[in-house]
Assembly symmetry: C2
Homo-oligomer: 240 residues x 2
């Protein structure tokens, strides 16, 4: 490697610019909040991050310009959400790498309650996570619907399972059908990708589970418990 870098490497510049978008605590807090997959207003994010609205406005401009966020203006509101599943994946992957000590922290009783609800079941961008997500993924594996020890892929039986329930899978998009998403509370992979998203959407559509409050937490309903037990053999204990 003798060649000196007279001109800078554009890949390095691009990498540094992209990483720079995530390299600020305020922007990072926004991205983590937006991992709930929904659209937030600029003001909500400013309050969440604890900075002035004017400051946050600048951050949103950078994140949108960098392609990590998509924005939608409605009247006097500016809604932003993660641009796509790949942006979410990027945030997830970096988050999964940071020191585990940074993760848990119940502060107040109220917070501890919300935390444990979220630990039971929540969404992670567009798929199920928490103990619920793990339980579903484990059940898929145990029933031969999902290959996990040699990679991460749906089996033919897995495809039939979705088909039998009438859950349509977009099989020819650029997005992989099945992908492992590493959860930071459980430290175990769970089902993401197009199939994970379709399953989560279906579960919310037919009310196997419902969102709790305004956060990412979800709760399994009565019917949902019966359905998941019947279809996947998931015990009630894993869901409560």
């Amino acid at each position: 490697m003798l060649e000196r870098m007279t001109t800078k490497d554009p890949r390095a510049a691009g990498l540094a610019r992209l990483a720079g978008l995530l390299a600020d605590e305020t922007r990072a807090a926004c991205l983590l909040a937006l991992l709930d997959g929904r659209a937030w207003t600029a003001g909500e994010l400013a309050r969440h991050a604890g900075v002035a609205p004017s400051t946050l406005s600048g951050h949103l401009g950078k994140l949108v310009a960098g392609g990590l966020l998509a924005e939608e203006r409605q009247g006097r509101h500016r809604y932003v959400r993660l641009a796509d599943a790949r942006a979410a994946q990027l945030v997830e992957e970096l988050t999964a790498r940071i020191a585990p000590e940074a993760h848990p922290r119940p502060r107040t009783l109220r917070q501890a309650g919300a935390d444990s609800a979220a630990a039971r079941g929540r969404t992670c961008y567009d798929h199920l996570a928490g103990r619920l997500g793990i339980a579903v993924t484990d059940a898929f594996t145990a029933r031969g619907l999902l290959l996990r020890d040699t990679g991460f892929a749906l089996t033919a039986a897995g495809l039939r399972w979705f088909d039998a329930l009438g859950i349509g899978l977009d099989r020819h998009g650029r997005r992989p059908l099945a992908r492992a998403c590493l959860d930071w509370t459980e430290r175990r992979p769970h089902l993401a990708g197009a199939a994970g998203a379709a399953l989560c959407r279906h579960a919310l559509d037919v009310r196997w589970c419902v969102r709790i409050g305004s956060g990412r937490a979800v709760r399994v309903t009565e019917e949902g418990g019966r359905a998941l037990s019947g279809l996947l053999g998931i015990g009630e204990s894993a869901l409560r």
Copy 2:
């Protein structure tokens, strides 16, 4: 989301700190260079990045402290390499996200020659990439050794293939056996993970391919061409 952030979110802080390690052009250039999977000395990296040794020393300190690099001192040399496969994956994934325009650029004739050699075949940290990597991955898929349309996993036949060649696979480490790595010249996924690494190691061991010069490029040998053709049906045209 009413709770105001009196104390900052430690996850956001951790995320920002990790991203901050990659958010500098000089450090990014080092990490990209280190994607060849080998150990570089501090001086080599300084020349490569075009900064003073003292400057680079500081950067290495940060990258090592942040857990992205591992260092090994030998006499008056400081060798560094990527800390592990996950660190490599992180860099890959961010790189795959940056604008494609940033990627290609043959500068000099000599450089163009090196580029096209690297495009034909190269290593990406510890597995095969470039057209060679793509060809192998496609052949695996076509022969039913690798599932790719429902995720990314070796099939039972794939496991037997490795077994028949006496290539040992570490099946119970934390590392996934098969993983997709998105290549930035071909923009297509190729086989990474423990299986990809084992295959690459074997290919170099038995001289199916050899490294060219000091970079990441590899060339398929005569015997290697015959072996890959016989074992996987890869045509000579894909390898030259």
